[in-house]
């Protein structure tokens, strides 16, 4: 009896982990891997049309080879959209992360009143959905409905045109700064709070001022958080969609292909061409992957090196 018991026991022991993993694996395959695989499949397909394309059976789906990729990569609008998004990101990310770091350092300083209130107040815009935030700001950007422009008008000044030309980048980046600073601040602030107090004590004994502590101790120690928030912001920038889409009906300045994802949406749901939309999506996903991994590889060893 004693010798017969172990084998079955070892067997169930080996199966159990898979049992626990199964729900995750099934969900991952069904909800994630399968749709991505299907999108990949669609990106190699196209419609063939016979005659006027009006009768039954005049439309059939067939293989397209790489033609969807060729047209996606040769469409100047994808490149222009990427360039627009990069300009937007170059304005947004430094300002948003700079403000987030500043607020986090200020909240972490020793003599702060209303700390909890300030933290919530700065974080609150993050709780407002991007579409709602864009609508709110859209009203404020339209000169005839904006109280800001009204006040400027009373002072005899005219406000800047935020919904056309280069003002558009400011308008869009502002919405994202307003909505995103609080989230990034909380990430950095949490990381600041986890720095042991002895470190500060030692610094003060050595005669460091609050400013020196912030610059020489706090910022280097929260560098991993800064890298992480930068990484998130980079991906969010490349995938910006809801803010420009919501503002688009208010202005002539945002085309339907303003950002790469807007082009994907237009191709799939306005033009009804899911095949080229799939190809463009695959290209965007690949580029995002390369940029993300490139960035992580670049800073990963420096930021995380000592911790691993």
């Amino acid at each position: 009896m004693a010798t017969a018991a172990p084998p079955p026991r070892r067997r169930t022991f080996r199966l159990a982990p898979y049992g626990f993993l199964a729900p995750a694996i099934v969900l991952f395959s069904l909800m994630f891997a399968l749709p991505i695989g299907y999108a990949g499949y669609l990106s190699f397909r196209k419609i063939h049309i016979q005659g006027l394309g009006l009768g039954p059976g005049s439309r059939s789906e067939g293989w397209a080879g790489l033609s969807n990729y060729a047209s996606a990569l040769s469409d100047p609008e994808l490149l222009n959209g990427t360039a627009r998004v990069l300009v937007y990101g170059a304005m947004l990310v430094p300002v948003m992360l700079g403000l987030a770091l500043l607020f986090a350092l200020l909240l972490d300083a020793d003599k702060v009143r209303l700390r909890a209130f300030s933290r919530i107040a700065i974080f609150l815009p993050y709780a407002i959905p991007g579409v709602v935030a864009s609508l709110l700001w859209g009203f404020l950007y339209l000169p005839t409905t904006s109280p800001g422009y009204f006040l400027l008008g009373k002072l005899g000044m005219s406000g800047p045109q935020l919904l056309s030309g280069h003002g558009m980048y400011v308008a869009l980046a502002n919405i994202a700064v307003w909505g995103g600073t609080g989230f990034n601040m909380v990430v950095i602030y949490t990381s600041l709070r986890s720095i042991p107090a002895e470190v500060y004590e030692a610094a003060r004994l050595d005669g460091a001022s609050e400013l020196q502590i912030a610059l020489r101790i706090k910022i280097p120690m929260v560098l991993p958080s800064l890298v992480l928030t930068f990484f998130f912001s980079l991906i969010a920038t490349l995938q910006v969609f809801s803010e420009p889409t919501t503002l688009a009906p208010l202005t002539n300045g945002i085309s339907s292909t303003w950002s790469p994802l807007m082009k994907v949406y237009r191709d799939a749901f306005v033009r009804g061409d899911i095949y080229s939309a799939s190809a463009t999506s695959v290209v965007i996903a690949a580029v995002t992957l390369v940029i993300s991994f490139g960035f992580l590889k670049l800073v990963g060893s420096r930021a995380y090196g000592e911790q691993q």
Binding site: F32, P35, I36, Y38, A39, G40, L42, I47, H48, I49, L52, G53, L54, G57, S58, R59, G138, F139, L142, T144, T145, S164, G165, P224, L228, F231, I235, Q239, P249, L250, T251, N252, G253, S255, S256, T257, L261, V264, R266, A268, F269, V270, R271, G272, D273, I274, A277, S278, S281, I284, A285, T288, L289, S292, F293, L296, G300, Y304, Q307, Q308
Partner: protein, 442 residues
């Protein structure tokens, strides 16, 4: 801190969102609607589903359901015509399209091309006689087939602030030259006001204006399509509006924005080239101006002419997926030609019926509330509707419309050449047809 592979997973997740979103949406078309129609048995009532966006349609359908216990229709409310188009094509591909669908006229060739709509010429009876020839042609695509029953139409008209026209000494324009003169006169009198705006966010109005000028954007000969969005007539329309925008005598900002509503409400804009359904929009955008507006026929290209275009308008179509096409066609016919149904459509869904008989008398005997100062509103509207020029739609109107938004948005913004924008729109439409594999001549 997050471990390395957790961070990689996050990166993968974020990067995959674009593809997952797309694939997820494209495969989500099949809904319960197909199931509903297959459940009907010989003993039970036939159950039909109807995708539509017109408001109050369920009240009209309730009348049918009460008098037709054997054919029960359920309205499944949709967001808008643009959204419905892609959705119904995707659903039809998956075999799950509803039995009936509300389809805008310009979407019919796209739907037919995607094999979504059934030919109901055997079931339509003598419906063709109940509609103006120009409207009927849009549901047959010029063939012997019948792909839908017309529901409403949107003949273009000129809406203006009567009080402010008197104040600035403007004459109600009967020609486009007078329209331009009015715009210039008003702008000289008060540079802060403009006659109207050129909006790039709804191609339907521009298409209607081109239609009035005699444009035929899509035509066929044999099995070849011809695309002529930049034909002479449309170029005339484009350069007319382009000059007004360039001179600054009209505004260049889009319609349907908070700023636009305010301009209509406070009299910064004095007129709106729009369709018969405009009173509904005006009453929600500028409620305080009730009774100050008047409607006149659309200005003409040459004095003495009497032509208009149309903006919007939709039909009721039966899908190929439907298991009960006879019943569905019977309902579509009833909805758009039966006097009780059409009266309910006018009252509950605020549509301007396409059926000729329904355009006078009945529910249209009195003017809309917002235009109570113009008691003959619908009598005049019926006269104008009768002068609607024929429309010519192609299989990728959606592509042309989205190209219009981008190209004319940019041109309106920069006050640059509208004919160049028109050429861009034409080129984008042509290139899309070539890419799809249509035989097409530019």
């Amino acid at each position: 801190m997050l471990s390395m592979h957790r961070r990689i997973a996050l990166g993968l997740t974020a990067a995959g969102v674009a593809t997952a979103l797309l694939a997820g949406c494209s495969s989500s078309g099949s809904t319960s609607s197909a199931g509903a129609s297959t459940q009907a048995t010989a003993s039970g009532p036939v159950k039909l589903t109807y995708w539509a966006w017109a408001p109050g349609l369920d009240q009209v359908v309730a009348i049918w359901n009460k008098s037709h216990p054997n054919i029960q229709v359920t309205v499944e409310k949709q967001a808008s015509g643009d959204d419905l188009l892609t959705k119904v094509i995707t659903a039809a591909k998956a075999g799950g399209a509803p039995d009936l669908v509300q389809a805008e006229y310009q979407a019919l060739p796209t739907l037919v091309s995607n094999n979504v709509l059934a030919d109901i010429s055997k079931q339509d009876g003598s419906a063709s006689g109940k509609f103006a020839a120009g409207i009927w042609k849009q549901v047959t695509l010029g063939s012997n087939a019948v792909y839908a029953i017309p529901q409403d139409s949107g003949p273009l008209m000129f809406f203006y602030r009567k009080d402010l026209f008197a104040k600035y000494g403007l004459t109600v324009p009967t020609t486009w030259d007078q329209f331009a003169a009015d715009a210039a006169k008003l702008h000289a009198a008060d540079p802060k006001k403009s006659l109207t705006t050129f909006s790039s966010n709804d191609a339907g109005l521009f298409a209607g204006l081109a239609q009035q000028a005699g444009a035929s954007w899509w035509t066929t000969s044999g099995d070849t399509w011809k695309v002529a969005i930049n034909d002479a007539a449309t170029q005339k329309v484009a350069s007319f509006w382009g000059n007004l925008v360039k001179n600054g005598t009209i505004d260049n900002q889009p319609m349907y924005t908070p700023a636009w509503s305010k301009a209509l409400a406070d009299g910064s804009q004095l007129a709106w080239v729009s369709a018969v359904w405009a009173p509904g929009v005006l009453s929600s955008s500028a409620p305080a101006t009730k009774g100050k507006w008047a409607m006149a026929p659309l200005p003409q290209w040459s004095a003495g002419e009497n032509v208009t275009g149309s903006w919007g308008g939709s039909s009721t179509a039966v899908t190929n997926n439907s298991k009960h096409q006879d019943a569905a066609a019977q309902f579509a016919l009833w909805l758009n030609t039966d006097p009780t149904a059409v009266a309910a459509l006018v009252k509950d869904s605020y549509v301007y019926p396409a059926a000729s008989d329904a355009q006078t008398g009945g529910a249209l005997a009195t003017a809309p509330d917002f235009f109570s100062n113009q008691p003959d509103f619908y009598t005049s509207a019926a006269k104008i509707a009768a002068t609607t020029a024929p429309a010519a739609w192609g299989p990728n109107v959606n592509v042309a419309y989205s190209a219009f938004k981008d190209a004319f948005g940019k041109a309106a913004q920069n006050k640059s050449d509208f004919v160049a924008a028109l050429n861009t729109m034409n080129q984008a439409t042509l290139a899309d047809m070539q890419k799809q594999g249509f035989k097409v001549a530019g």
